[in-house]
Amino acid sequence: MDALLLQILNGLDKGSAYALIALGLTLIFGTLGVVNFAHGALFMIGAFCAVTVQRFLNLSFETIDETQKDFLGNPLKVKTPYVESWFGPDLGAGIIDWSVPLAILFAIPIMVLVGFVMERGLIKHFYKREHADQILVTFGLAIVLQEVVKYFFGANPIQTPEPNMLRGSVDLGMMVGFQANAIIYPIWRLVYFFFAIGIIGGVFAFLQFTTFGMVVRAGMADRETVGLLGINIDRRFTIMFGVASAVAGLAGVMYGPLNPPNYHMGMDFLVLSFVVVVVGGMGSLPGAVLAGFLLGILESFASTTWATTTIPGINQIIIYLVAIIILLTRPRGLMGRKGVMED
């Protein structure tokens, strides 16, 4: 029972990332009709926003310490971050410690801007082209973006640790009556899960309870009619591209402490997120979220020793297996609507 709960929990945080990326993908597909293979790159750029903020906060000046030597035997250059010199050692170190949460403030405008530039600069030219063309151009863009990041940040993973206060794990099992160490769970993974729930809730609320959201939903249902009513739906859809970009970016910012960001992380998530979108139902926002969590949990179960010894390799194919089964039994996905991508 405890192992079951543990794997469900594990699946939730993985599912959170899938759900956030798939939500953005579905937003873009639902509004602009574009299959955006560069969406994983937006997730990666978000994570590197956190790396950038961390590096910015760690900008330092050097002082020579004659008492210590560097690796060549010269007097050691000691680096002191400017923030520690401006705000004092304790507050300065505290600001650096909270660089990941602080990066959210930086990432939102950056990601919205990246989304705008991507949509206005490149993707809008492919609206009337085949889906295959859209996939090729966005996939190419993803490769370019990851190579640019690699050029500036290198190929190795870069640590973006969570704040000290949120480091370590909690014994959730003991809270519900299990023995000690039965269900240990890292605090930051819980934070990530609740953060994802907050973002998903925010996006749904924005679409459901604002006039802007109402127009966007109307445009998703019937773009032409909304246009005929004199509403500039293209501008709103561009804004939604920015929102989707910010959602992917925020998912990336907060993911950094779970696994150190590297230039390739977007590609690792991209294919799985597309499977999530297809399983959830093309164009269905609730479907994307539901499928994200569902597949995250299934993947987690498939990685247990029991599963891998019973069916070797199941951990690597489970998501695709489930996708095949769902598409065979429900061709439109879990919550797909009739008419979407069926013309």
Partner: protein
């Protein structure tokens, strides 16, 4: 009356044989004028540096390239000479190799076997490389070693740690300076026993490919010989990025040690996840829970950040060593590039010098002559103490370093501290050891 022996069948047969000969790639044939593949005829000789310039190990590849360029500079008499001055063999004079200026070409392995073979093939066929060296992965090293054997050039392996490279996949034209998984196990075991005791229960997470398998086999054998029990050994996909599902069951398994048979990004992520799950703060079976990373790399330790603190592992070489060879290399490399070299940089620099030295001693670039000069060669002054290039399997035997993540680093490079230098004798195994069984060196191929 003359008899004409030409038959339709004969013409077809002859044509087929001639066609097959023409179609055979030139890499597998040699010019009748040359005594061996890519025999240098002008005033220079070309070496092929085949390293990952793109892909996940690109940073290690970049460090390897820096070291290769430094080695070429030193071989041609430039710079401060680096380890040429400390190398026990004095055959190298700083005037190139056998009087020919050393030039080089580079290839990108992308850490993919097929790409690595293609780039090596191109360097041999198009650029006339007389020797291929490099790589940051055992899969790649084994693939390229096989190609070099077929092509008739020497392969001086870079960073490859799988037992198979000089075990079941060993080749007469291939040579490895880097240590291997068996040596890591043999070096680590006594240190683990001294620090963590003989009554431990280990849980292994293992990267599911050639290096991971041999690493798990080696460290399991070494720890079980200490009296440790192996509770579970789980293979993880090489492409895995999140290891939480694999780490979550560890605490419930009764294990009190987690051994991460992972390298590169796998190691960074699995270690980060393990620390997140609070494993190192737990007491299990009345003992402090411990994590072991059998193969360490400073570049990867940097990626894992604070998570490496206090964690034991092994490494081929570390820049903080105080022998004359290491100091000379660190000084050369550090002065030129501004930071200390990695173990990958060290091993490829050594391999380049060792190849050049073997050519000088053999008096030829012929792969068979060079191989013979390397076989059984004993040397010192290259940073690992007295070293033997064993003739039986072309594996170097030298001291192995047991290292630990440093608690209070003084700089961004000061991540590991050497806790033990395990003598070569302790990590030496017989050539017919079961972990290395199954392959034959074969005979050297000069490509002619």
């Amino acid at each position: 009356m003359s008899k004409n022996d030409v038959t339709r069948r004969g013409v077809l047969k002859t044509g087929a044989i001639a066609g097959a000969g023409v179609a055979l790639p030139t890499i597998f044939t040699a010019s009748s004028a040359a005594a061996y593949m890519n025999e240098p005829t002008g005033g220079s000789v070309t070496l092929g540096f085949n390293v990952p310039q793109t892909g996940p190990y690109a940073d290690e590849g970049a460090d390897e390239l820096r070291a290769y360029e430094l080695a070429v500079e030193h071989l041609n008499g430039g710079g401060d000479g680096g380890m040429l001055g400390t190398f026990s063999s004095k055959a190298l004079k700083g005037n190139g190799i056998l009087g020919k200026k050393v030039e080089f070409v580079t290839g990108d392995t992308q850490t993919k076997s097929d790409a690595a073979r293609a780039s090596a093939k191109s360097m041999i066929e198009k650029d006339g490389a007389i020797m291929i060296t490099g790589g940051s992965s055992s899969g790649v090293a084994i693939a390229v070693q096989g190609l070099c054997q077929e092509a008739g050039v020497i392969f001086m392996a870079g960073l490859t740690h799988s037992n198979d490279t000089t075990g079941k996949d060993k080749k007469a034209n291939g040579f490895r300076h880097f240590f291997n998984a068996y040596m890591s196990g043999a070096a680590l075991a006594p240190v683990l026993a001294a620090r963590y005791g003989n009554d431990r229960k280990a849980y292994h997470l293992t990267a599911d490919y050639t290096w991971g398998w041999t690493q798990e086999e080696s460290i399991k054998a070494a720890t079980e010989a200490l009296g440790w029990e192996t509770v579970n050994a789980v293979k993880t996909p090489l492409a895995a990025t999140d290891f939480s599902s694999y780490i979550a069951p560890v605490l419930n398994s009764g294990a009190d040690v987690l051994i991460l048979n992972h390298y590169g990004g796998n190691m960074v992520n699995s270690l980060t996840n393990a620390v997140q799950f609070g494993l190192r703060e737990k007491m299990v079976n009345g003992k402090q829970f411990e994590i072991v990373v059998p193969l360490y790399s400073r570049l990867m330790a940097k990626g894992a950040g604070e998570n490496v603190k206090g964690i034991l592992g092994s490494t081929n070489w570390h820049w903080s060593l105080q022998d004359e060879g290491s100091k000379a290399f660190v000084k050369s490399f550090g002065t030129k590039y501004g930071f200390p070299p990695s173990q990958a940089a060290h091993t490829v620099y050594c391999q380049t010098l060792l190849y050049a030295d073997a050519c000088e001693r053999a008096g030829t670039f012929n792969p068979c002559g060079v191989g013979q000069a390397l076989e059984g060669f004993e040397f010192d002054g290259l940073g690992n103490g007295p070293t033997l290039y064993r003739a039986d399997d072309h594996q170097c035997f030298k001291d192995v370093l047991v290292v630990r993540g440093k608690e209070n680093p003084t700089s961004e490079f000061d991540l590991l501290e050497v806790v033990e230098v395990t003598p070569a004798a302790q990590v030496t195994y017989p050539p017919d050891h079961p972990m290395f069984a199954g392959g034959e060196l074969g005979t050297c191929n000069p490509g002619a």
